[in-house]
Symmetry: C2
Subunit: 144 residues, 2 copies
DNA sequence: TATAATTTTGAGACAGCTTATCAATTTCAA
DNA sequence: TTGAAATTGATAAGCTGTCTCAAAATTATA
């Protein structure tokens, strides 16, 4: 259980080493908690970790999640007014299907859509760096 | 000039009528200003309208733009921490190409992408209500 | 291992954007 | 014209996220 996220831990250590940053108890704690989720907000993580460490500050959570983004382990996504951090350490790019009924989020990837996006960009003289595609609707359960 | 947005005005009036809302001088003023733009923030509109009516409050702008969204005349889009309101009264759905260099926004629509989105949704048991697709990159000018 | 330089943390202040509050004003149906 | 109901303007408050800074933790060095 404690050794489950070795690879990501190594990736984090590598990033820390390259940037004169330090490995702290909090960063380890937050990394392990983060890797157990798919999409989570800083606030949610704050409450979740309150049991493990009641003095862990919200600012530290934000700082650390942003650090994970820099290290390529996480990716921030803005859903409405909230920012959710995705675990992208072990998977490639993906887009989202979001149920407006139960808030469920389904990930997907579609090569063909990606290709068409490139085509549109090229036609307009753009070079894409990133993109975001979110489909909002009702999942099969919420439809009834 | 004053009569240019008759159709949208009618649409607004219809919405107001259906919901026991009233047509005010401010709503007319804001509608006319709004229809002259493609994408605008409440703050920008506030400054823009300060000349026409120095006492027009920012809260009224927000309230009114949200009203336009309810009426189907506008659509709110979150770009980073800002919310931009799009004029969607006279055009169909469209997506965005956004230059991260100069903030330029280019609209586009692509039937094929839309179709593939439906396909993905169906495969996952979803029924799409709305979606958002934003491509971030550099435009031809900013690339040099 | 002890030391010192450097980074990190926690707590709360602060900032940016948006909504809520509420008395005064305006609209509109009768 | 009148009066109930909605709207406005000003500002307080809320929310999310970042900044500040003294105290604590980490890491390189001796």
């Amino acid at each position: 259980m404690a050794n489950k996220h070795v690879k990501e831990m190594e990736a984090l250590k590598e990033h820390l080493g390259k940037h004169q940053l330090k490995l702290t108890r909090q960063r380890e704690l937050i990394l392990n908690a983060f890797l157990r989720q798919e999409h989570i907000t800083a606030e949610a993580m704050y409450h979740q970790l309150a049991k493990a460490d009641p003095h862990l500050g919200l600012a530290t959570i934000y700082r650390t999640l942003n650090l994970f983004c820099d290290a390529g382990l996480a990716q921030a996504r803005h859903f409405g007014s909230q920012t959710k951090y995705d675990n992208v350490s072990h998977k490639g790019h993906h887009d989202h299907l979001i149920c407006t009924g139960c808030e469920k989020i389904v990930e997907f990837e579609n090569e063909e859509i990606e290709r068409l996006q490139e085509e549109v960009a090229t036609r307009n003289g753009f070079i894409i760096k990133t993109h975001r595609l979110e489909l909002y609707g009702l999942c099969s359960r919420c439809r009834h």
